[in-house]
Symmetry: C2
Subunit: 112 residues, 2 copies
C-alpha cells in the first residue's frame, strides 16, 4: 500500500535551465514537478493552503467546488510532488506547503 504523505520529491534541484541544456533525466523530473502545478484546481488549492497556513481537506471542497474524491486526488498529486505535506490529526487531514519546493522551482527558472 502506498504511503499517503511520502515526502519524496520529484527532483531536488538542478542548474537553472537558462544556463545549460537540461539532461533528459533532469527534464523529466522537472516536468513532473511543473505538471503537478499546471492545473487550475491545484494552483488554487496551493494558494489557499499557503495563505491559510494550514488547511483541512474538508475545508477545501467548498471553496474549490470539487467533490471529495477529486480533492483527495489533487492533494495526493501535490504531496507526491513534494509541494505539500499532510498530517493526520484524528479524523482530519491537515495540509501545509513545503516552501523549499517552490524555492527550487524558482531557482530552476533562473532565480538567484
Amino acid at each position: 500500500m502506498p504511503a499517503t504523505n511520502t515526502a519524496r520529491r520529484a527532483g531536488v534541484c538542478c542548474t537553472a535551465l537558462t544556463k545549460t541544456p537540461l539532461s533528459q533525466k533532469d527534464a523529466e523530473r522537472t516536468a513532473v514537478l511543473l505538471a503537478a502545478m499546471a492545473d487550475p484546481v491545484r494552483l488554487r488549492l496551493l494558494s489557499i493552503v499557503a495563505s491559510e497556513g494550514e488547511v483541512c481537506s474538508c475545508n477545501l471542497e467548498r471553496p474549490l467546488g470539487k467533490s471529495q474524491p477529486t480533492i483527495s486526488h489533487h492533494t495526493r498529486v501535490l504531496a507526491e510532488a513534494g509541494l505539500i505535506v499532510g498530517e493526520r490529526r484524528g479524523k482530519w487531514m491537515w495540509w501545509r506547503i513545503v516552501p523549499e519546493s517552490l524555492e527550487n522551482i524558482r531557482r530552476l527558472l533562473g532565480g538567484r
Copy 2:
C-alpha cells in the same frame, strides 16, 4: 468562507500565490503557462534555446530526437504561452526565449 478576491489584472502577472488565494481566472491563466513548461521535450527545448541564445527549428530535431512536426508543435505551444518568440529569416525560423515570462513565473511562485 473566504470570499473570492477580485481578479485584478495588474499587468501581465498576478500576485504571488503564497500571499492570497488565486482567483479562478488567474489560476487558469497560470495553469496554461505552467502546462507549457510541464513537458520534458519543451523544457529541453527551452534550455537549448536559452543557452544558445538563438536556435533554428531545423537545429532542434536532432538534439531533441523528435520529428519535424513534433518540434513544430512544441515551438507553437511555447510561443503561444509567450515563453519564446520566433523570427522568420528566409526559409528558416529562429527562436529565442522571452526572459520576462520566466521572471513572471518566478514572481508568481513567491519570488520578489
